[in-house]
Symmetry: C2
Subunit: 135 residues, 2 copies
């Protein structure tokens, strides 16, 4: 637990939230600044800052519960799809965004993309592979 | 396996890809249309269309491997952060995007957000909770 963390305060009930699901390990509630109405956050109840800080068993549990949440959001709101997203530079308590989306909701589906120049793709793959071996 | 799926073809080695990591269950490789260079995709080797179609054990394994991949991408490319994203309406073989991001890379961090009107938030939470109970 982190004394000043806004999501820890929600877990402790010190700040209200529209809760969707709760168990011993995770809590899901509506984002108060939704991309679309029904935009849900799911968090581990314990305070972990980054995605890779979350212990394997808690992360697995969170993702398995997210499968049901995504299906429920899609069903309840008749959305065309649901985007899952971890940004990682806003509230420093790991959270997964579950955002209902419609094909005609007027927002970009993704970020703009680039192309690799000759040889560059191989170079990037090698760099990442090398780092991965050290982890 | 799906005969015509582009990601299944990559798994079978019929289409080349810059592979980063591979084991019995998952494959990670560079997206050929990267948001930023080093943008990686991780997929289950078996063909599952949507996020919630992926069996719990495979999804857990994929996420646990993604923890290491995210750390490796951040380390190798000295990115400020790494965004994880499941869109779900492009290639119909479940894939998680791991996108290295820099604070000055000129792209939006997220989609624009809205506010709920009085009473609306509770209404949305109730709708989703009700659907969740039926799943």
């Amino acid at each position: 637990m982190d004394e000043d963390c806004i999501f820890c305060k929600i877990v402790r009930g010190e700040i209200p939230a529209s809760k969707i699901y709760e168990d011993d390990l995770v809590l899901a509630f509506l984002d108060i600044n939704p991309v679309n109405y029904g935009h849900t956050l799911i968090i581990p109840k314990e305070h972990y800052q980054w995605f890779y800080d979350v212990p394997d068993n808690i992360l697995s549990h969170l993702m398995i519960k997210s499968k049901k949440l995504v299906a429920a959001i899609k069903e309840a709101l008749k959305s065309d799809y649901v985007v899952l997203c971890v940004v990682g530079i806003d509230v420093p308590h790991f959270h997964l965004h579950l955002v209902p989306r419609w094909l005609d909701d007027g927002m970009a589906n993704f970020w703009p993309t680039k192309k690799y120049k000759e040889g560059q793709e191989k170079e990037y793959a090698e760099k990442i592979k090398m780092s991965l071996e050290g982890i």
